[in-house]
């Protein structure tokens, strides 16, 4: 890559018939950044994200992820990104170890590497006692953390998190963000969508989408200044209400 921009998006648009779900959005994300991608339900966050991770074709506009074009090299992009969806997405009927081995396997990790990785991961998450238990038996917070760790298993350049903390308690959310920081410190770029405005404060920069367009994009501090409010919640409300 010629520069530190791991995601470059210019005029990216997705039309569903006459309706522009994503309307010519433009932004850049730098390496190691925690980029908050905010918006109300139906604002087009998930659609935009799906185009970036290669499971939805853009109608028009340009986008590169990890240096690869979304039109021409979606397969290369897939190798370089991790993804955690808003639905919890490990297999409940597989054990912790089996889940790790399976996802490691589809990302092409060698058996040895999977062993090493899963040992480290299980220790870090304190899952030693339940390593051979079915994931379905774990509390949601643990699953969520495990799911995040699994999305980082193949050391992706960028990890996309789609509302990762939905439905978990504040303590787990806190721990989850500590994990996000840790990943970012190690150089992984984090692209995260969220509903929680307090979480927006944790991001390096945030963009706020309204009706398919990015209406604001800056650091939380600058956004608060720009809209002359105390917290991100008010920034969001001001924007969303127009």
């Amino acid at each position: 890559m010629s520069n530190n921009k791991v995601i470059q998006v210019e005029g990216l648009t997705k039309m569903f018939g006459d309706f522009a779900a994503v309307n010519a959005i433009t932004f850049e994300v730098e390496k190691g950044e925690i980029f908050g991608f905010l918006g109300a339900n139906g604002a087009g966050k998930t659609t935009a994200m799906k185009m970036l991770i290669g499971i939805s074709n853009p109608t028009s506009g340009k986008a590169t992820v990890a240096g690869f074009d979304v039109y021409t090299h979606p397969e290369e992009i897939k190798k370089n990104i991790g993804y955690m969806s808003q639905k919890f997405a490990l297999y409940d009927d597989l054990t912790v170890k089996e889940n790790i081995a399976f996802f490691g396997g589809i990302y092409g990790l060698s058996r040895k590497r999977i062993k090493e990785k899963s040992a480290v991961l299980i220790e870090e998450l304190g899952l030693e006692k339940v390593a051979n238990k079915l994931v379905g038996a774990l509390p949601l917070g643990w699953k969520q953390k495990l799911s995040f760790s699994v999305s980082l298993l193949h050391d992706p350049k960028i990890v996309f998190l789609d509302e990762p903390t939905g439905g978990v308690d504040p303590i787990t959310r806190r721990q989850f963000w500590e994990m996000i920081y840790k990943a970012a410190n190690q150089g992984t770029t984090v692209f995260v969508t969220t509903h929680y405005m307090d979480e927006a404060e944790y991001c390096d920069r945030v963009s706020i989408m309204v009706h398919g367009k990015i209406e604001a994009l800056d650091t939380p501090k600058m956004l608060k200044k720009q809209f002359k409010v105390e917290n991100m919640n008010d920034v969001f409300l001001k924007l969303a209400r127009g």
Partner: protein
């Protein structure tokens, strides 16, 4: 990142995928039951319903000879626990009336000069007339009487150098072709393969959609095509095992004949399994939840298979519109094929047309689901 050489990597991914699929199947009691419990239960149910042991069945005798040999045979039949002689009739015209009254299930009609013929021509004939309104029982009765006759014949021939031959002439009245007998094995096999292949795959694919894991898989470097192949592969394997179990059970429990080549039977079954899998994939592309997939499989596949494939109701006696519709049901062609192989012992030269139709349908369904799958990805 450390990647393995491409080929080894692909194989390893595939094996990992299949391993995971088997975990899903073996850890879910419901699918295990559908997979293995149901075929066995169905075959046993049908098998026992049809191979009823017969006991003290009332029969009548029309003896035109009344000689030593016929008396001996009659005594043997009377002595067996299977039959009791309800009535001795005197003339042919009584046969009809005795059946109509429903008094007996079978009539034994010995020809004139039975002993004399047996000695002179070393051949004598006895007619076994059975009431085939209940075809299975009729068939069993005639088999039992045949067995008694053969045993007697063996005894006769024991110390004599030349051979006496008693020729039983079997006549089934009221349902001469015994249309429903043996029909159930091909039918059950078709239903089971359809159920396992189409319903189970469509459910297992939609389950991944419902749980959100499909999205994760699509974002991974693994290709959508590989995901689908990985998901259906275990079901091909399990369906083949099921087909074998069904055939073995029907041979041993129901004495179902397999006249034709087992290899051909196997290959045709694999073809039908793939047809059903393609249908399953197609169903999974149009349904978002496991429940929808199950409903579509049951209503859209099982009902037509049961009603229109000729499994229970002969296609030839259906109204013309239904006969036409029955042509688009893959199961109809498969039933024709396996009936041909199992019952008639025909080779590919007699069933190539049906095989081609099935093959064409399979290609069509696969093409359609590939198209649908792409649209969904948009």
């Amino acid at each position: 990142m450390r990647f393995l050489p491409l080929q080894a990597l692909k194989m390893k991914r595939f094996i990992g995928f299949i391993k995971k699929e088997f975990y899903h199947i073996f850890r879910d009691r419901r699918s295990l039951f559908i997979l293995f419990g149901m075929p066995i239960a169905q075959i046993l149910l049908f098998g026992f319903a049809i191979t009823n042991e017969i006991n003290n069945v009332d029969i009548a005798i029309l003896d035109h000879s009344k000689d030593a040999t016929t008396k001996e045979i009659i005594n043997k039949i009377a002595a067996s626990e299977y039959f009791s002689i309800k009535q001795i009739i005197e003339k042919e015209s009584d046969i009809e009336s005795i059946f109509k009254k429903g008094k007996v299930k079978a009539v034994l009609n010995f020809e004139k000069d039975f002993s004399k013929n047996l000695i002179k021509d070393s051949k004598a004939t006895v007619q076994i007339i059975t009431d085939a309104t209940d075809p299975n029982t009729a068939n069993t009765i005639s088999n039992f009487i045949n067995a008694i006759l053969q045993k007697y014949q063996k005894e006769l021939n024991k110390d004599i150098t030349f051979v006496y031959q008693i020729v039983p002439e079997t006549r089934m009245v009221y349902n001469p072709e015994l249309k429903s007998v043996y029909m159930f094995v091909p039918g059950v096999m078709t239903i089971i393969l359809m159920l396992v292949s189409a319903m189970m795959t469509s459910i297992s694919i939609t389950r991944e959609k419902e749980l959100g894991t499909m999205e994760i898989l699509l974002v991974s470097p693994i290709k959508p095509f590989q995901v689908i192949v990985g998901k259906v592969f275990p079901y091909i394997f399990l369906s083949i095992i099921n087909a074998i179990v069904i055939v073995v059970l029907s041979i041993f429990i129901f004495n179902m004949p397999v006249q034709g080549s087992l290899l051909l039977l196997g290959l045709e079954s694999v073809l039908f399994i793939i047809t059903s899998l393609a249908l399953g994939i197609l169903i999974s592309t149009i349904s978002a939840t496991q429940q929808t997939a199950m409903m579509i499989s049951l209503m859209g596949l099982m009902l037509p298979v049961i009603l229109l494939s000729g499994f229970i109701f002969p296609i030839s006696s259906m109204p013309i519109p239904l006969q036409v519709i029955s042509n688009i049901i893959p199961a109809k062609w498969f039933i024709i094929i396996i009936k041909g192989i199992m019952l008639k012992g025909v080779g590919i030269q007699f069933i190539w047309k049906e095989t081609l139709i099935l093959l064409g349908m399979t290609v069509f369904f696969i093409g359609l689901s590939v198209k649908k799958y792409k649209i969904r990805l948009e």
